[in-house]
Symmetry: C2
Subunit: 267 residues, 2 copies
């Protein structure tokens, strides 16, 4: 485990329908981030397909098998770094999933989004397995997708399973908010990071798509829940995190964020 881990979130602007262009954009981002020394590279949800599908057929035409050759290409471009990226997955039986892949050299783990947001339910089947917590050379990395992260049961569960970092590919449709407030999803992520003492890297997307705006709220949060990097301007959020801190849940002389839990009264 490496104490100083460089995490980069690449806030890409996929174009729905342009599979080849999106793959090229993602490959370029991975290569650039790895070249700049990133240890962990996070791309948005559905980075390969875009988000605003007009029909199930369109979604299907933009889906990839979990064993698609692009993933080997990305792992090679990453040159030993970890990549977490969202993609539209065509399952073995033809069902579509809103998935994320974690790549690191020969490791390839695919997670299927469990909590589908709104119209995603028209195109995708919900996953039915817990998010992975993957041992990598820089620590244990958990993966979930967008709306999943808004379920504190799920963020807690990966923290209890020992995640040192949670990577969240996301596409956050624009949400109105009071003046001066951040995107609500970021507040939820900050709280999840803090109560679990687990850094979270949220990679949002940009680029208006079929009239849909996005929060463009990419942020890397440390284990206290504070934002340490955003993608404002450059499109890439980069932070150096000491992931060893995520294994220390002590929050006062007599308190431990996880050991203080009292499951016997949570009913």
């Amino acid at each position: 485990m490496v104490a100083r881990v460089r995490v980069s979130c690449c806030e890409l602007a996929p174009v729905v329908g342009d599979l080849a262009g999106n793959l090229a954009q993602a490959s370029a981002a991975i290569g650039a981030a790895a070249g700049a020394g990133a240890d962990v590279i996070v791309l948005p949800e559905l980075a390969t397909s875009g988000y605003c599908f007009q029909s199930p057929d369109e979604a299907r035409s933009l889906a990839l098998g979990g064993g698609d050759g692009i993933f080997a290409d990305w792992a090679e471009l990453a040159a030993g770094s970890v990549v977490v990226a969202g993609f539209a997955e065509r399952g073995e039986d033809g069902s579509l999933f809103n998935s994320a892949v974690l790549l690191c050299e020969d490791v390839r783990v695919v997670y299927r989004k469990v909590h589908l947001w709104n119209t995603e339910q028209l195109f995708f089947t919900a996953g039915d397995r817990p998010p992975p917590v993957v041992e990598t050379p820089v620590g244990r990395i958990a993966v979930m997708v967008c709306y999943d992260m808004e379920f504190p049961e799920m963020t807690r569960a990966v923290a209890l399973r020992g995640a040192d970092l949670l990577a969240v590919p996301t596409n956050w449709p624009w949400v109105d908010r009071p003046e001066g407030q951040p995107a609500p999803e970021i507040l939820i992520a900050m709280a999840a990071a803090r109560v679990n003492r687990m850094p979270i890297a949220c990679c949002d997307r940009r680029g208006v798509e079929r009239g849909q705006r996005w929060n463009e709220a990419t942020a890397i949060l440390d284990e206290s829940g504070w934002p340490v990097a955003t993608a404002a301007g450059t499109g890439v959020a980069t932070a150096v995190l000491d992931l060893s801190q995520a294994r220390n849940k002590v929050i006062s002389e007599r308190n431990d964020a996880l050991a203080d839990r009292r499951p016997d009264v949570y009913r």
Copy 2:
């Protein structure tokens, strides 16, 4: 159930050791808030005793039985409104608890804080029962105390039990934070309110006590998690909430904040 519910949090400054003075201060605040039309009045944690005890004996000398006459006085002053207030409780067997009482006319429900923060463990026994969700004339009100609220399992549990409002007496010791960020406990409360579609009224304290500063971060959050009132200046945060909104968990055409939960994968 009343759609327009006026909630007031009175950010008092108890003085540790001055039981009589603290009771008088609390009584005055309840009378004033009720006189101003509050339907729900929330006071801080340990409003009767102060917080920074020097010894268990001192804490004991400031504790009240759960049936103390002051609670009937407060209910009378409240004139039909709901009061939620923190107090040091001397239990039947002499154990001390960091408790909160909910009063409404003849109803009196005492909750004993389950998650004790730091030195509280030197003075108090942890409660071992879930927080109450109490049916009142203005809706179902849940009660927890301070650090309890930082456990998303507990906030979720009261939402699942149908709470329309969560009242949280608190004493938040000062926490350093990055420039421009709110107290971290407020972030946690905002997230809890939003993911559960449940308004939360957090009543902090003020007044430096034995060198201890406080966040003075009293806030009333609506069911979207946004702060709609603070106690800055006046010492009283007041907001009118439509608690009927808390019974509507719909967050998109196809999503429901609670029905979307997938307990089968939270492991």
